[in-house]
Subunit: 541 residues, 2 copies
């Protein structure tokens, strides 16, 4: 397998797969683009969703742009996400691909010539084509937000002590032809680089890369431990080294096949307020700060494609990607780092902003039920990956579909006793979660409330919704009856069935012999014989 | 408005509405019928579901039957349920119809002549046409169950002290041409009648009515306080009196327009084991008992229609009906009996067997947020309707769709702090809920565990997922942008949208003036002016 040469080759494959809408009519990037793309998340089912390539873009003051814009091309749905990984469109294949990438990272290789250098704007020529204004950077939260937002930038920076390169996806806004910013959370690795530069009183050199190959976009957005190289993991995902080339003005190497690179620096001595921004939590962020970014050089391909990721109210591109990334990583963590073999699947849900709401499916591994201690090991370990998420973790049995909330809450309704099967864990954080406290409190007090008399911090809830002992069979006919009835259904020409699990009854360990005997007699129609037995078993009251 | 004359007229209306499948080919009631009907609950979306009328029935030993069988004709989906009530197909209309029926019950009227007397089998002629064997009573849990089950019987009986008539839907099985039984729970009103007869050493006279008009079927299945007349409430639902006629052999009056009536008595001195039966919890019941029923007389219409209700693994006809009945009654209880005006909607969910899982939507009534004490009043009061359900009650704000689990768990993910917003309530029962204890314990110990050292009983969990203070706006573009984008979407011929709430962003009380000012400037495209302001607000670190 060869991986996609660049974003363009990938878009070609998307189009062949019927998953790219090429929009040729003019679309206003400031008033029309994001609302249009957003409709698919509020109006189509997940499998129907697709990527957009806007070929003719205008701005609110009548501007027109040379390049095009790709939006929701990486993860509008699982099928496209799998295409971006070049793997089969199912969770197993996706998880395997991530596990392999972490096990077999591939270092990048340097090259001397690169498409991303087709145009270079630097020094006095920096603004010759308008600087950052050359690109159709879209407004993303129309009616609430103030400025066009850079959503798909992969930021490259170096640890000034170790020289290790980090790649991370951070949001920024357009602040002028050579000015932007990066909103990096307190845990963001680029912030650690910046803090180290601060101590030395030196600016941090950075490069914001737009439109590298999908594997790097997907790695850049994933939480990867400090010190692990995103470039190498992305190489592992792609199955081949990422080609990189030296920047013009900063000491960094960036993907040769990217669409656009913004080179520049982050001064050590001040921060900026971040304008309002719609977020994955389903709410608009206020009161955030960002690191200022002075652009010194812009290099790009001819007719560059601006790459836009759609975050905000879930589901979104960011929550599709977030769920799939976190599922792969949490599964790997629980099974391989914590050593809990009972973990079969992990599901994250859009409604939890792809972080807060997690369901763990456990398997019995030959035992009649999962040992309670192992259920609690998995539940408690799920909290170890972050100071704040998951906020709700639910353990379910292997016959439960952890991605189907109806199935999960059937388990909660009938396999869970609140007083016995709930642990509430304190001392947790609540970044970006307004339930921690009102805006009138300082941010750190919202994120981690401190009390001298009551509980400290915020909390998570762990719910054991596995069956604690054998249960009687599920109340659906046995498989052979449902199979036969489906044939009749189809013969009769009734509406097309889309079978939903479970569609036949199964035994769950408690099925007394006498009931089995009667069931077999019932299948043979020995009603009179059964009735005679039952009438004989009458009990005086 | 005149109500349906009988089940037959209603079935005609169903057929006109495209909601009845008339099955003319032979169907084996013992091996094919229930699995076939069940497929719609595992393979069709709720609005697609419909009623079945089977016109040619056979049995496992080659039997054939004169009459037909109607299954899932009352509540395969909300639309049919509303048709059965002759009201508009929405929850508001359904709730109003129930509230009106309770406020204005209409007593039945006695008549002298009735279709249900077209054929009378009594005394020596009782078994002339086969007794109970004349009817195509179906097997319902194929592969697990032992005997054909009577699912749609409305049992009539009289309180031997007060003479008050009760009508209730209880399950029974075929135990011979003149023998059946009724599984009445310890809280069932017919059991109270039977216990009073027991004290006198006298049998309880009963009549099991099959196929009365839909209004009575729906009332019979609803939990109605002891002493309130189901016949009068059904009259209230129908908007006209139910016509009743004297039985032949027992001191009871039954609906004149029913399809079939089984008259007889329940002996005072013994009970029977109930065979396995698939239940609304999603599991198969074992270890239950039933009251024996000796049939003394059978009356029926010519070519009678056997009426079958589909319960078992949710969703089912019984959970559609259960959700809608309970929503109407819980809403009425919280608003009118408990006096909590903030309650806007109540949602019960299939996954909780239409009992355990309840969501209460509260409205602000002009205040900026709902007073916490009122949220807790509603949550706690929800437990007052039963010793055991709801098991999980969640309170949400008015912008949350309580029927959409994604929406509910978005609220739980971002408006709830487990340690602060959870109450676990002990001392609750767990009838038909195997999470209470394994089958090896006595039934009463499963349903209400007793401990000398720990908690007593089972439990319910109450979750306050309302916002406790103003929140920032939801992260979706404002309505005007989404409206405009929808027009463009349609012009472009993109796949048909089925908009899902919420599809545009709204303010939730926290939206600082400066952000509003910038948002307005952003809508006018004053990007350079905003950027200049932001760059001026740089903050030294």
């Amino acid at each position: 397998m060869t991986y996609y040469r660049d974003l363009r080759e990938f878009l070609g494959e998307l189009e062949k797969a019927g998953k790219l809408a090429r929009i040729r009519r003019a679309i206003n990037k400031d008033t029309e683009l994001h609302p249009l793309v957003r409709w698919q998340f509020r109006g189509l089912e997940e499998p129907e969703r697709f990527g957009f390539l806007f070929e003719k873009l205008t701005g609110i003051h009548g501007e027109s742009y040379n390049g095009s814009l790709a939006s929701t091309v990486i993860a509008p749905c699982l099928e496209v996400y799998a295409l971006a990984l070049k793997c089969a469109p199912n969770r197993q294949a996706i998880n395997d691909r991530w596990a392999a990438a972490f096990r077999h990272p591939i270092p990048p290789v340097s090259v001397q010539k690169a498409p991303v250098k087709e145009e270079i704007h630097v020094g006095e020529g920096l603004l010759a084509h308008g600087g950052l204004g050359e690109f159709p950077i879209p407004m993303t939260g129309n009616g609430w937000e103030a400025l066009p937002r850079l959503t798909g930038c992969c930021w490259f920076s170096k640890d000034p002590e170790t020289g290790e390169v980090n790649v991370g996806t951070y949001n920024g806004v357009y602040l002028g032809p050579a000015e932007s910013c990066a909103r990096v959370s307190p845990r963001g690795h680029m912030r650690i680089h910046w803090q180290k530069c601060q101590a030395k009183g030196k600016p941090l050199q950075v490069a914001a890369v737009i439109g590298p190959s999908p594997a790097l976009v997907m790695t850049s957005i994933t939480e990867i431990p400090y010190g692990v190289s995103e470039l190498e993991v992305a190489g592992g995902l792609a199955g081949e080294p990422i080609e990189i080339i030296r920047c013009e003005t900063v000491d960094l190497e960036v993907p040769a096949n990217a669409e656009i690179v913004l080179e520049g620096e982050i001064p050590p001595d001040y921060i900026l307020p971040d304008p309002a921004s719609g977020e994955h939590t389903g709410y608009t962020f206020v009161d955030r700060t960002a690191l200022p970014f002075h652009i010194r050089c812009i290099t790009h391909r001819k007719n560059p494609i601006w790459h836009d990721l759609v975050d905000q109210f879930p589901p979104s591109e960011s929550s599709v990607m977030g769920n799939l990334n976190r599922e792969a990583n949490m599964l790997n963590f629980l099974r391989n780092a914590c050593g809990i073999p009972y973990v079969k699947d992990v599901a994250f849900h859009h409604c939890g902003g792809s972080r807060r709401f997690c369901v763990i499916r456990l398997q019995r591994l030959g035992a009649t039920s999962i040992p309670n201690r192992n259920v609690w090991h998995a539940l408690q370990a799920s909290l170890a990956v972050s100071t704040e998420w998951p906020k709700i973790t639910i353990a379910v049995d292997e016959d439960i579909d952890p991605w189907d909330l109806e199935s999960v809450f059937w388990a909660v309704s009938f396999s869970y006793q609140p007083h016995r099967d709930t642990h509430i864990v304190l001392g947790r954080g609540a970044t970006a979660d307004q339930s921690g406290g009102p805006r009138t409190l300082p941010l750190d007090e919202q994120e981690y409330p401190r009390s001298r008399t009551g509980p400290q911090g915020n909390s998570s809830i762990l719910i054991d919704a596995t069956r604690k002992w054998p249960y009687t069979p599920t109340s659906l006919p046995k498989r052979e009856y449902m199979d036969r009835a489906k044939e009749i259904w189809e013969e009769l020409g009734l509406p097309r069935l889309r079978p939903r699990e479970p569609w036949y009854g199964i035994s769950l360990g408690e099925w007394p012999e006498e009931y089995q005997r009667h069931a077999e007699m019932g299948e043979r129609g020995e009603f009179d014989k059964i009735a005679a037995e039952i009438l004989q078993q009458k009990k005086k009251v």
